[in-house]
């Protein structure tokens, strides 16, 4: 059973601050409760398979400079530095 406190804690970790917690907690709760159906799937012994990609498909390990104008997309920057708020 998922508690309201757990949901609030995760929201904080995800850097989500919301005014109306109750609104979110109820719906998120219902969605997570639905996932309980996974318990009935009987997949405990199943291996998780990963797709293998042949190494030849990787692109050449070469430095390709991006357009310098990209930095202008940033709202707060100086030279090639991003300006961020203070860490507390």
């Amino acid at each position: 059973m998922v508690t309201e406190e757990e949901i609030k804690h995760v929201a904080k970790l995800m850097r989500i601050e919301i005014d109306d917690y109750a609104e979110y907690v109820n719906k998120v709760h219902a969605m997570i409760d639905y996932f309980d159906v996974l318990d009935s799937a009987g997949v405990e012994s199943e291996e998780i398979t990963m797709q293998e990609i042949p190494i030849s498909n990787l692109r050449e390990d070469k430095y390709i400079p991006f357009n310098e104008k990209l930095i202008e997309k940033l709202k707060n920057y100086k030279g090639t530095y991003v300006r961020a708020p203070k860490m507390s």
Binding site: R15, V28, D39, E47, N67, K73, K75
Partner: protein, 481 residues
């Protein structure tokens, strides 16, 4: 000027000089002007489209080499980047984001002289299946504007269905191309995972999503696939399709092909009209010489829970980048502490995105991963085994694209779990990487029903042949708008 012609006919008409690309594009923009107030498919319109079409007409007249699209007006889901155009993902978070580069699919279409008439609506960050979660308001179903058009590529389906463009590109993470295609009576195609580059598609759940075309006809989908598929050095998940021509031999028929009817997708909760259309489709395929019998994919019952667990996890990670430092809306950094600044900026996400990010933080976290994320990954593995097993016996699989009829706007928006179940027939193709297509098949009480076909990985050509055969068995009424 007939705006209702399929893409291939448009190409032929411009090539033969019967119509000009400029006239067609101008009339298309007029059409958008006159119907889009009602439908809200478009988030932005390309003001330069007519000038671009004029350049193509000049090339046609002077006998210069012209790309395969001949100025065809295409709409693009607003989570695919077009250089120097706004790409909003239907989110306040990216309301003013101008893409600095072209997605690979856009580069390829530009090389073939396609014209992008505009960017079309979606559920915010492609999370949803009704287009009601767009921060800029819902799109409406052209068959009945009180109804949802499906989603998340709702704007794409509406724009094709209502003749506001000839074709569209959407993206399909759990049915986001096929679901609106079914609800709006267009063709919607999700290729084998890796067939189309995702470079320039704004990420939601990378491990399963694909860009796909929405078109008037199956042939048009094959035509667009020919242009946009193939290896891309900028997307290492792309596969080499050896420049396969998906259009040639599309009329090969399906005689002798074995088709499995997925039992779990025609069971409880299916609308009687959808079931009856599915049975009708099966008997039509049988009359063309296909051999149809039921097949069971046991894991389908758990596929929606697995799908939401996996996609929320990937979304939680992908959306961490929206911190207002690199992307986001503008407010100064002064007076804020680092975390509170980012949290404040992220208030601009809409409710569904916030819900999925919270879930995405929760299900893979220490203490919960075993119950949720790892189990979801195991369901995905087992479902893949099951479908691979099915494809040893069958060439194709069939099911309705959506088990229920289109519903009214607002009807399910407050009940996320009932919305989940609308996805039950589409997520399997994404979780297993298989190609799937929705073919318009019936109209019941004025609303469309699509039939879905699936094939094994890299059997996209066979899939399109089967879809074409099915398409030829019906003549559907025209959209009443």
């Amino acid at each position: 000027m007939n705006l209702k012609i399929p893409a291939l006919e448009f190409v032929q008409e411009v090539k033969n000089g019967n119509i000009s690309a400029e006239d067609f594009v101008a009339k298309t923009l007029e059409r958008i002007q006159s119907v889009d107030d009602k439908l809200h498919a478009f988030l932005s319109v390309n003001e330069k489209a007519i000038d671009q079409a004029r350049v193509i007409d000049k090339k046609v007249k002077s006998g210069d080499k012209v790309g395969a699209c001949f100025g065809m007006p295409i709409s693009i889901k607003d989570n695919i980047c077009i250089k120097d155009s706004k790409t909003t993902c239907a989110s306040k978070m990216l309301e003013n984001f101008v893409a600095p580069y072209d997605a690979t699919v856009i580069t390829k279409l530009k090389e073939e002289d396609a014209i992008f008439v505009g960017k079309v609506n979606l559920d915010e960050f492609a999370m949803g299946l009704t287009t009601e979660f767009s921060a800029f308001g819902p799109s409406k179903n052209p068959w009945n504007t009180e109804y949802v058009p499906g989603g998340s590529s709702g704007g794409s389906a509406v724009s094709v269905s209502a003749f506001e463009c000839v074709a569209s590109l959407g993206s399909d993470t759990g049915g986001s191309v096929r679901n609106p295609a079914s609800f709006c009576s267009t063709v919607g195609y999700k290729p084998t995972y890796g067939l189309i580059s995702r470079y320039g598609l704004i990420s939601y759940a990378n491990s399963i999503e694909q860009i796909g075309p929405l078109t008037r006809t199956v042939k048009d989908a094959a035509f667009i696939l020919n242009i946009i598929s193939g290896l891309d050095p900028n997307d290492n998940t792309t596969v080499d399709n050896k420049n396969e021509d998906y259009l040639s031999e599309i009329d090969s028929g399906i005689e002798g092909k074995k088709i499995g009817i997925i039992k779990e997708m025609i069971g409880d909760g299916i609308d009687p009209a959808v079931l009856s259309a599915t049975k009708d489709a099966i008997s039509k395929l049988e009359s063309l010489g296909a051999i149809c019998e039921e097949v069971s994919l046991d894991m389908v019952k758990y596929s929606v829970a697995a799908y939401y667990t996996i996609t929320a996890t990937e979304a939680g990670s992908n959306l961490a980048r929206y911190d207002n430092l690199r992307y986001g809306y503008d407010f100064p950094v002064e007076g804020y502490e680092f975390n509170s600044y980012i949290s404040k900026a992220r208030e601009n996400f809409g409710p569904e995105v916030i819900r999925r990010m919270i879930i995405g933080g929760f299900v893979p976290s220490a203490g919960h991963a075993g119950k949720y994320f790892l189990k979801a990954m195991k369901v995905k593995s087992k479902l893949t085994r099951e479908i691979n097993e099915a494809f040893k016996k069958f060439d194709l699989l069939i099911a309705p694209t959506v088990p229920i009829m289109p519903f009214k706007i607002g009807e399910k928006i407050d009940d996320p779990v009932s919305l989940f179940l609308v996805d039950i027939n589409t997520v399997t193709a994404n979780l297993t990487g298989k190609p799937a297509i929705s073919v318009p098949f019936a109209i019941s009480n004025g609303l469309p029903i699509g039939i879905q076909l699936l094939a094994d990985s890299m059997q996209d050509k066979l899939l399109l042949q089967a879809a074409y055969a099915l398409e030829q068995t019906v003549t559907l009424p025209e959209v009443p708008i």
